[in-house]
Symmetry: C2
Subunit: 351 residues, 2 copies
């Protein structure tokens, strides 16, 4: 069991979530938690080839914009090591990096991280590994920094206790190990400022029910899982006073692309007059994309909606529309909080 | 197989949905489709006791506000027949009626229908049966009348083709046999005015994926099933130009109580400037309830959210919040269409 990453070289040999790192490096290969098996099983999987990493990203064994960024960078490191072992040219590593960059289309972190390590390729595998680990460490540091800043902001905006509505999983399982939105939940909890957390189950792949609930359980906070259609009701009824979510890409004007089902929470929050706060690392910001209309939203397999495991939910012949993400217009976004700053898109602030 | 109800004594020996009646009467007992088994199996179940009827209503074997109204009335008829057979007093039938009226709390049709047949109790079982059948026939006639009126309205508001977003199942399976919102879809289809129908799967019990998809399949229309979180995106992206849903109760001011997940569609429709149209029989209107805050929203078992069949989705110890319905404020409701009239709550019109 690989559970040996020391957070920032301080503290105990586990991450603050109580889980092993979501994406870790083990000398010459990557190690990920296979999130498709949670919460039933916590299985760590060694990733020794680019094909394995791409498959893990595509099937959401590793998911969450920051985590797949780190995974993409480590995928390039795996390629660089393979190239040296097998006597392949540098150009081959670049082609492998190209394949990694497009394993999923929407989260900008994946492409960002691959391009970030790419210049190291010409300096050999150890340089690529070091560059990938730097991205991993920056992600962890980002989670720590954003948590404090966002917790300050949320307490300022909402008072205490903060009762949180969240969606999907923007936790340690979405990042290298600390998390974005759920790192704020953790900070609020440790400050004694947290009330209850309402967790959308997040169909079709149930990242909320499976992963966020798992993290909330580990943290020992008071939480309730609900169907996605109930989130806006929780807001309307005043059961929560803050929406805290992550993001997969944020456009220059502040439009936020996140897991499908985020937009209805933003609509409900605006109507109820409660803050809709997006927590993400700077690597999720995409100033080159002018607004949400320019973001490619991944459409995933219809079977994710039509089947449950191998059992048909729908009648034979049914078709599905399965966008993985939605776009929340900037005017509904109260704040984007990163490790570096607070941006207020609904006040017209741009990235 | 009981498939012999002649619609209004006209036309072929099947209902316009192509399905047997959702709730039917067979001489001395009721017959329902067990909707928990759809779409895998179309099973008709005989209901010979009040306990059986209450259990069927509670476990959603029969569901949909109009359908459980008819079921409640037929439950009183079953009680009246049992009383005569077993020599029980009229007061006993009234007590059985009391139990039926509260089998589920939110839909007003159930209580309405039970109270509607109650005066017949003193005239004996045949009178109660006749009163229950009158409610059934009125429900069927209502579905036919509302379909034409609402189709006219929707074409007027949206032009053609009408691309529909719906939620849950407001179809023949929610009524005695014609349906509310889906009767309008059917009318639009037969007029050549229907484009595509976006069907929310409707967690936790998947009435959309299981039942509405089943009805759309039978009707041969172009439809797509989507997760509930995607409905507001379908609206935002212009994939649909009209929301058509049913209702479980409508308050005097026009606040609409319907399956949880309806409110986010109303928010998205208002933002996109497309009509949010509620289709329901007059028996769903509740002028005695001033507004949505006075409606008791049923909270159902946490296991509906936490389990899939007998398999745990969430980690051990997880808790759920499982409201069956939500309330859409009147200002977001473009129209309530019944067999008798069109009400425009967002213009301040009251019931």
């Amino acid at each position: 069991l690989v559970w040996n990453h020391v957070l920032m070289n301080e503290g105990p040999q586990i991450s603050p979530s109580g889980l092993p790192p979501t994406v870790d490096w083990a000398g010459d290969h990557a190690v990920i938690i296979d999130q498709t098996l949670l919460p039933a099983e916590l299985r760590l999987v060694a990733i020794r080839t680019v094909d394995e990493m791409i498959a893990a990203i595509k099937r959401l064994a590793v998911r969450g914009a920051p985590a797949i960024g780190v995974a993409g960078a480590m995928g390039v490191a795996v390629a660089a090591i393979a190239a040296e072992r097998e006597g392949r040219p540098v150009a081959w590593v670049h082609l492998e990096a190209d394949r990694l960059a497009v394993a999923r289309p929407t989260a900008v972190n994946l492409r960002w991280a691959v391009e970030r390590v790419r210049p190291a390729i010409e300096f050999g595998a150890p340089a690529v590994v070091a560059a990938a680990l730097a991205i991993r460490d920056a992600d962890i540091a980002s989670g720590m920094a954003v948590a404090a800043r966002a917790a300050d902001l949320v307490i300022d905006l909402c008072g205490t206790p903060v009762n949180v509505q969240t969606h999907c999983n923007a936790g340690s399982l979405a990042c290298a190990e600390v998390g974005s939105a759920l790192s704020v939940v953790r900070a609020l909890h440790f400050r004694g400022a947290l009330g209850v957390v309402h967790v959308d189950e997040t169909r079709p792949l149930l990242q909320g029910a499976r992963l966020t609930a798992y993290e909330m359980n580990a943290l020992g906070v008071n939480y309730r899982v609900q169907v996605d259609g109930a989130g806006p009701s929780a807001i309307r009824l005043g059961l929560v006073n803050c929406v805290l979510i992550g993001a997969d890409r944020i456009a220059a004007n502040g439009d936020v692309c996140n897991k499908v089902g985020s937009y209805p929470l933003a609509l409900a929050a605006a109507r109820a007059g409660i803050p809709f706060v997006v927590v993400a690392p700077e690597s999720t910001l995409d100033p080159m994309t002018p607004d949400g209309t320019a973001i490619e939203v991944e459409e995933r397999s219809e079977d994710e909606v039509l089947l449950w495991g191998d059992r048909h939910i729908c009648p034979p012949g049914a078709r599905a529309w399965n966008p993985a993400f939605d776009v929340t217009p900037a005017d509904l976004v109260s704040a984007v909080v990163t490790e570096a700053r607070v941006i207020r898109p609904n006040r017209g602030e741009r990235l």
